[in-house]
């Protein structure tokens, strides 16, 4: 009789797996992460997200979130919704229009559709990001890779976002256009796009939550990636307790549009007794 033929044997077999390690997995508790980029004990989320996978977490205002492209072919598709009020969410059009820039990088504010800041980009060593092309879909991935369903070898970003959304009480109609980090595009004079790809292994971008936000992340190839294969490598996600941007921080006054966005956010949070 096999060892797992009984309930006792199956239980022992399952429990013996504790302590196993894989490249892509969450580390719980997060403070057990080796070499944290913050004060000891401040880490609240430590995870390596496999290529073709997704993750999600609610982060408190003031939390910093660092995404790292470990091997050079991660692409972090990202959405933000205000925790508990998901009808206030990332608005990519406002983000690029209000800040007069189509490209993401250090100092960019990720704006909601209510004239407020959801998160700030406080550091960026990659410089290859995209606010124009969104994420991949079941239809496109099936055309390009043969399948795009979540359990396939080539999951589409939108399908993974639907799952991450559902686990936070959200529906497909709650998924607006997303941003993507680590795989970029550039706009030519005639409006057509050049895919720039990745900046290479080790690039990172750090966001700071300026409200309590639900973060949805899908790590899948950029929809404009011209390579025939589905190339998607692990994404490191670390988050730690820090402080939201305050008056006096250079970022607060970096632009008149950003200053008004921070002022609107502060007024809103103060009225709710949240800041």
């Amino acid at each position: 009789m096999a060892a797992t033929a009984t309930t006792y044997g199956a239980r022992a077999h399952a429990r013996a797996q504790e302590g196993a390690r894989a490249e892509a997995m969450p580390v719980v508790p997060a403070r057990d992460w080796q070499d944290p980029p913050c004060e000891a004990g401040h880490l609240v989320w430590a995870e390596t997200v496999a290529g073709g996978n997704y993750t999600h977490r609610v982060l408190a205002r003031g939390t910093e979130l660092r995404l790292t492209d470990l091997h050079g072919d991660a692409c972090a598709h990202l959405l933000l919704h205000v925790d508990g009020r998901p009808w206030e969410r990332l608005n990519v059009a406002d983000t690029v229009k209000v800040q007069w820039n189509a490209y993401l990088g250090e100092g960019v504010l990720l704006l909601s559709d209510q004239g407020r800041v959801l998160a700030s980009v406080v550091a960026d060593t990659a410089g290859r990001h995209d606010a124009l092309c969104g994420t991949s879909t079941l239809v496109r991935n099936t055309e390009r890779y043969g399948d795009g369903s979540p359990q396939s070898a080539s999951p589409a970003g939108r399908e993974l976002f639907k799952l991450a959304a559902a686990k936070n009480g959200l529906e497909p109609r709650d998924l607006p256009p997303s941003l993507s980090f680590f795989q970029g595009v550039e706009v030519r004079d005639d409006g057509t796009l050049d895919f720039t790809g990745s900046a290479g292994p080790g690039g990172s971008v750090t966001l700071r939550a300026e409200q309590d936000v639900t973060v949805l992340i899908a790590n899948v190839p950029h929809p404009a990636d011209p390579r025939p294969g589905y190339v998607s490598t692990p994404l490191e996600v670390l988050a730690w307790r820090a402080a939201a941007t305050r008056p006096g921080d250079p970022l607060w006054d970096a632009t008149p549009e950003g200053r008004r966005a921070f002022l609107n956010t502060a007024e809103f949070l103060t009225a709710r007794g949240l800041a």
Binding site: N91, A102, V139, E171, P177, G191, T192
Partner: protein, 202 residues
């Protein structure tokens, strides 16, 4: 058969456009921006996706031949004629809230497209979560080498028009842009005309 509606300056409009029918939008006085959202009429969770439209056609400007794609990467409408040559996919709608960032808090009392979309969408059971980045017909939003992006003077002129063919039954929402702080409509909102023609009509 043809139905013809003039949409006043600052007003909203909506209609079902059946598969094969065409919708012609005429810029009656020139340089008016027409904010535009389109949904599958039978499943409004399938709706216009700016990013899918952009990466499907490999660029940010719309003109003849451009296919408006849904968030499930399926075609909603196709631009079959265009007298202007460039329309915007990036800038989205003006709102009272975004106006406070772009121009200052003194603009908060002014009319804005998001309010038009919310009011017009509510007539079809759509709420705030159903609004996404929209098309701005006749609006000109170039992107410079360094990424600088902005709404600049339009390329349209009085009487120019564009025509869209519905690839399935769709619901169209329009806000005839009331913005008076940027050149999308020459700082002066004016009327446009919406014409729906049955399948096969000119």
């Amino acid at each position: 058969m043809s139905t013809d509606t003039e949409v006043a300056a600052r007003a909203s409009w909506s209609s079902i456009v059946r598969e094969g029918e065409t919708l012609t939008i005429t810029d009656l006085h020139g340089n008016q921006a027409v904010d535009f959202l389109v949904y599958d009429a039978h499943d409004t969770s399938v709706r216009y996706s700016a990013p899918d439209t952009i990466h499907a056609q490999g660029g940010i400007f719309l003109t003849t031949g451009s296919v408006l794609m849904s968030n499930e990467h399926t075609p909603l409408m196709t631009v079959t004629a265009d007298g202007v040559g460039r329309h915007d996919t990036v800038g989205g709608a003006c709102s009272k809230e975004s106006n406070t960032l772009r121009y200052g808090h003194h603009t908060y009392a002014q009319h804005a497209c998001v309010d038009n979309f919310l009011a017009e969408g509510a007539r079809h059971g759509l709420g705030k979560r159903d609004l996404v980045s929209n098309i701005n017909w006749y609006m000109n939003v170039p992107v410079e080498k360094d990424g600088t992006l902005g709404i600049v003077d339009g390329l349209s002129a009085p009487g120019l028009s564009l025509t869209l063919r519905a690839e399935r039954d769709v619901l169209v929402l329009v806000s005839n842009c009331p913005q008076i702080n940027n050149p999308c409509n020459g700082f002066e909102p004016t009327a446009v005309r919406m014409t729906i023609d049955e399948a096969g009509a000119a």
